[in-house]
Every structure is written in C-alpha cells, then in structure tokens.
Symmetry: C2
Subunit: 186 residues, 2 copies
DNA sequence: AAGTTTGTAAAGTTTTTTCTTAACGTATTA
DNA sequence: TAATACGTTAAGAAAAAACTTTACAAACTT
C-alpha cells in the first residue's frame, strides 16, 4: 500500500484543494469587515495556503486575473499589514507572503482605522465645543438659543467621553494588555 | 442688552449651525467604519442634533433628499440599532430618534458583524479540518501530501484558536465586563 | 548603451452601488 | 365606500468602484 495509483493520489489532492477552497471562500467573504473586497480576499486566502512567498505573476496565474490587479490588491493587503514583502536571495521579482499573526492583524486594523476616526471626530468636537462655550458667555443670548447651546454642549461632551473610552480600548489592544483579560491560548 | 437685534440673533444661530455641521461632517465621514454610507451618515448626524424624533418627511426636507432614501437610510440605521422608532401619541407618521448610547452602538455593531464572520469561518474551518484529519489516516498517502496536510492542519488550528479568542473578546464587550478594565468615566 | 524585465500609473470598460421617480398596498378619515 | 396619507417596493438613471488593457519608468543584463 506504499505506492498508490495515480487516480487515488489525484483524489487525495482534490480533497486538500477542496478543504482549502472552502476556507478561502469563507475567509474572503468576511474580509469586508477589514474593508477588503471579495477578490482581494480571495487573493489573501490563496497566499495564506501557499507555503512559499509568491510573485505577482504567480498570483495572477493562481487567481486568473491581471497583474495590475494583483499589484493593487497586494498593496491594499500590505497597507493593512496582512501581507509582507519578503526579500529573496538574488530574485528580481518581488515576493510576498501573508503575515500569519492574525491577532496582530486585527489589532493593527483596529488601531489604524479607528484611531484615525477618533482623531478626526475629536478635533471637530473640540472646535465646536469651543465655539459654543464662547457663545454661551454672551449675555444677550436669547433664552431659547441658550438652552439649545446647553443641550448641544452636553451631547458633544458625551461624545468626547465616548471617544476617550474608545481610545483607551485601543490602547488596551495595542499594548497587548488585553491578553491578560482575554488570553490567547484557551 | 436683553433684546438683541435680529442680525445679532441670526449670527448666533449661524454659529450654532456651523458648530453642528462641523460635527455632523466628521461623524458622517467616519461612519464607513460601521459600513454606513456618507449620506446616511449625514442623516444620522442630522437626527443626532434634532432634539425631537423626526418623521421621514422632515428628514427628507432637512437632507434635501427623497423620502425613499430616508426610508432605506433609517432602516439601515435601525438595523445597526443606532436609531429607534418611537411611538408618538396619536401621530400617523412614524417617528425616529437616534439612540444616544454610543458605547452600546459600538458593542452591538461589533457583536453582530464579527460574530457572524466568526461563525461562518469556524464552520468552514471545522469541516476542512475534519476532511484533512480523515485524509491523514490513509496509510497510502504520499509523503509530500502528508506534509502538506500537516501544515494545513496547523494553520487551520491556529485560525480556530484566533477565532476563539475573538469570540471571547466579543463576550467581554457584550457582557460589559470590558468596563471593568476600560471604565466609562475617566 | 541597447534591450529586457518588473512594477505601477492612466485610460477605458464593465459591474456594482446609490439615489430618484413612479407605482403599490395598507391604514385612516370622511 | 371613496378618498387621502403613509411607508415601502420596483424599475430606471446617475455615480462610484473594480478590473483590464495599454503605456511608461526604473532597474537589471548584456
């Protein structure tokens, strides 16, 4: 039983391929949570099971898509730090491989995207709160507007508190302190 | 100074409007993190500063858009639990208001979206791991394929561990236990 | 220096998404 | 029962995104 016939081997290979494809499909489908398109998700999945770093041409062949698409797709994945460019001994073509640390991928995505959102919103909130606080000082402010300013200021302060919380949540992730409370290994 | 002229009041109102618009703009821009489009984000922002529940017609007027768009937009926001339908004493039109609990909004979004992704991926992972484990038992499996199965199984197990971690992270949020480690009030 | 190879940018096409107008169904009023 | 109001579905138009082909610039080879 040590040298099976070719048909059996093909069948075995098919099982592996199907097992991979199933996972790739599921993976790709849910990468929209990372703002990543289905086809780029497929690319990621393909690279995930490739045990060697891939070139753009290899990706194009595996995906049946243009090299340009691979180039932009890989760039997106690199921006999310899900894929790294690897330097290979005397090779002209660029080689890429997936970063297998999904915990860090998650954290990086979270940090980058949400931190940016927080900064932008907090900046707007601060400015508007400042404007409204100045307005509140005016002693000829009609009572109706005064109440309006009050409630707005309260809302903005609540928002600010929330973003502060979110910022600290990100800190917890980035510092890996989270693993104290939600440990990696079950 | 208790009855300012009309021009001054208009100026004051303008300041409030600008303060609100700045925040609305920033808010809307970042709601893509919730999978929400810019215009629907604007709708959310508009409702956020409205102190009374709004009808679809009021929204349409405020946004300069069709009622149909308001209908679908509000539905999206309701799916994310960012907006609630409020029942109003003897009113024919439906009224909606934003849910001001941003912490819960965040948690809900997180739970819903990521939990779904986890379930789908874990299901695929389990099936493929099962297939591969069965394949590993075959005693006529060529050595090359055997190694392939081994590394694949390891990858899938790592993925499974990651999703388990993510699931526990979501538990931490959903149970509000997170507020013990990252408290709301600074 | 001429000729390849490799990666990316630009332009154009196809597909998808977003928004509007029009039509429908249900509920309310007269 | 007829008439009106309200929300939503369906179909079409406009805008945006994804992909491909073509073209180009930089690096390497000879």
């Amino acid at each position: 039983m040590n040298s099976p016939n070719e048909a059996t081997v093909n069948q075995y290979e098919m099982i592996i391929k199907k097992a991979r494809d199933r996972v790739i499909e599921a993976l790709a489908k849910n990468m929209d949570l990372y703002g990543i398109t289905l086809s780029v998700g497929h690319l990621y999945g393909t690279m995930f099971f490739q045990d060697k770093p891939m070139t753009l041409d290899e990706m194009g062949a595996a995906m049946g898509m243009s090299k340009t698409s691979m180039s932009t797709g890989v760039r997106q994945l690199m921006e999310q730090k899900m894929v790294n460019k690897v330097w290979m001994k005397g090779a002209r073509k660029d080689h890429y491989e997936v970063d297998q640390d999904w915990y860090q991928n998650f954290i990086d995505y979270f940090s980058t995207k949400w931190r940016k959102a927080i900064d932008l919103n907090v900046q707007a909130l601060r400015r508007s709160m400042n404007d409204l606080t100045l307005l509140k000082e005016k002693d000829d402010l009609p009572e109706e507007l005064q109440r309006c300013v009050e409630t707005d200021l309260e809302k903005l302060q609540n928002a600010l508190d929330y973003y502060d919380w979110l910022s600290r949540l990100i800190d917890l992730l980035e510092s890996h302190e989270i693993f104290q409370y939600v440990p990696k290994k079950l």
